[in-house]
């Protein structure tokens, strides 16, 4: 029975690639193993037949003329075009990933983090309201209603819409994560999921309606966000913000996909 190892040994034997010990061992086997010998013979004949193939003559000289050499050294148009489109794709992706941040992001992030710390220290909604009043006198009516720890049965209804309509915290997380780790897909995806699925957040809020302090803790970040923004007039309406956030996510996803495709195609063409 001839194994693949035997075949490799026989070929190395033919090519004189065995060391002395291996060669001696194979010689000993060949002396007694007729099947191995037959394999060696047939392989030798095969190698002899292949190596006897004639060296062909080049059908034309492949030497380069001055003009060919000049053109060879110059970057071909195709490569230039490919590199340019690859660079353009990268620029578009980088631009979309960074251009949506800017001033609002830094404001939101700071306010959000500050607000969270404030809320964490607050045991009751009453105190929270006092803080809210102290922090911002321009709190919007919706936010104030949402934040008020009164009429517990209706709280879920009233709290849910502002929470869903004001995805500012998630927007801040989203954009902040873009700045913190633009290439971190997991972080971005997580932030995207937060802003895409506010319904789940509001559902959770509804379950917690009997615990007003818990509701306050959940509702308060959005309230704080609303209060912390520079002025209500400069803030887009809540649904608009949400749509913008979703649009931005879609735009980013589409841009990244298109950019990656263009870059891939460009590099393959190059």
């Amino acid at each position: 029975m001839i194994t693949q190892t035997d075949l490799e040994l026989l070929n190395a034997y033919i090519d004189d690639q065995l060391d002395a010990d291996q060669r001696a061992a194979l010689d000993a086997r060949l002396a007694t193993d007729s099947e191995l010998r037959a394999q060696l013979t047939s392989l030798r004949a095969t190698v002899a037949a292949i190596t006897a193939l004639p060296m062909l003559t080049a059908p034309r000289p492949f030497t380069l003329t001055r003009e060919q050499a000049r053109r060879a050294r110059a970057l071909p148009f195709r490569q230039l075009a490919a590199l340019a489109s690859a660079a353009a794709a990268v620029l578009v992706v980088v631009g979309v990933l960074t251009a949506r941040g800017g001033a609002p992001v830094s404001v939101n992030t700071n306010v959000f983090s500050g607000g969270t710390r404030a809320i964490a220290a607050l045991p009751t909604g009453t105190v929270l309201l006092e803080v809210l009043e102290a922090v911002d006198t321009e709190v919007s009516a919706d936010s104030a209603v949402a934040a008020a720890p009164v009429e517990a049965p209706t709280l879920a209804k009233s709290a849910a819409p502002p929470f869903t309509q004001l995805p500012a915290p998630t927007l801040a997380q989203d954009t902040a994560s873009m700045f913190a780790a633009p290439s971190d897909d997991d972080a971005n995806t997580e932030a995207m999921a937060d802003s895409i699925m506010p319904a789940q957040n509001s559902a959770g809020l509804g379950e917690a309606q009997s615990e007003s302090s818990a509701v306050m803790r959940q509702a308060s970040p959005s309230v704080i966000m609303g209060t912390g923004l520079p002025s209500p007039s400069s803030l887009p309406s809540a649904p608009r913000v949400r749509r913008d956030a979703v649009d931005m996510l879609l735009l980013r996803i589409v841009t990244i996909v298109i950019g990656a495709l263009i870059a891939l195609l460009s590099l393959r063409a190059a």
Binding site: Q4, L7, E8, L10, N11, A12, D15, Q17, S34, E35, R37, A38, T41, S42, L43, R44, A45, T46, V47, A49, I50, T51, L53, P54, M55, L56, T57, A58, P59, R60, P61, F62, T63, L64, R66, Q68, A69, A72, R73
Partner: protein, 208 residues
């Protein structure tokens, strides 16, 4: 790595420094080998010529990266890689037949050695060469590259491993499979083969 002899070294340095004549001189010394390798890889003269021409342009562009290596194996590596890439590309987009149905026998306008062979012998030899090439064409690209570099270019295992970018163990494995496949392929058409090739089968039969 075998160091180039002095005259090749000087020519090589000149080529690396941008001397086109030096580059062409190095090229003329191995363009037949490059074409032979390309033909054995592709089984098609026209495609082989294109592959060599493209490889030459690639080599000229990258000649500055050639340090401490001989020109010939370096160029042949580019040729083999170019052929492999092109054949893979054609396999992915099979708009053109990968291998001609009829082996391209025009390569065997060979100068048959020895004095004045009989026309029948010439025909037999051509037939054998065409049969061998057809068997090589059936190999996988990886096996084909290793077989051609070993049995046509007569590189050692380490040089082949360097050329195709793999380990010596892989070269051994691919080579043994390739040779066994060519052998089996040739044996399947042994009636078409000249008696000189069939001899070993008689040996086999005797031995077994």
């Amino acid at each position: 790595m075998v160091s180039p002899p002095d005259d090749e070294l000087m020519t090589l340095r000149a080529a690396i420094d941008g001397d086109l004549d030096a580059f062409n001189l190095l090229l003329t010394r191995c363009q037949d080998a490059a074409f032979s390798i390309a033909y054995r890889m592709t089984g098609d003269r026209a495609l082989a010529a294109d592959m060599v021409q493209e490889a030459v342009i690639t080599a000229y562009r990258g000649i500055r990266t050639l340090r401490g290596e001989r020109f010939r194996p370096w160029l042949l590596r580019i040729v083999v890689n170019r052929c492999t890439d092109e054949l893979r590309r054609r396999r992915r987009r099979p708009t053109v037949s990968l291998t001609p149905d009829q082996p391209d026998s025009s390569d065997d306008e060979l100068p048959i050695p020895d004095s004045a062979p009989l026309p029948e012998e010439v025909a037999q030899t051509r037939e054998l060469h065409a049969a061998i090439q057809a068997c090589i064409d059936r190999l996988s690209l990886d096996q084909r590259a290793v077989l051609v570099l070993c049995d046509i270019e007569e590189m050692d295992y380490q040089a082949i491993a360097d050329t195709v970018g793999t380990q010596v163990g892989t070269v051994k494995s691919r080579l043994s499979r390739a040779r066994a496949a060519v052998r089996d392929c040739l044996q399947s058409s042994r009636e078409l083969l000249p008696a000189v090739y069939r001899l070993y089968r008689q040996d086999d039969d005797r031995n077994s």
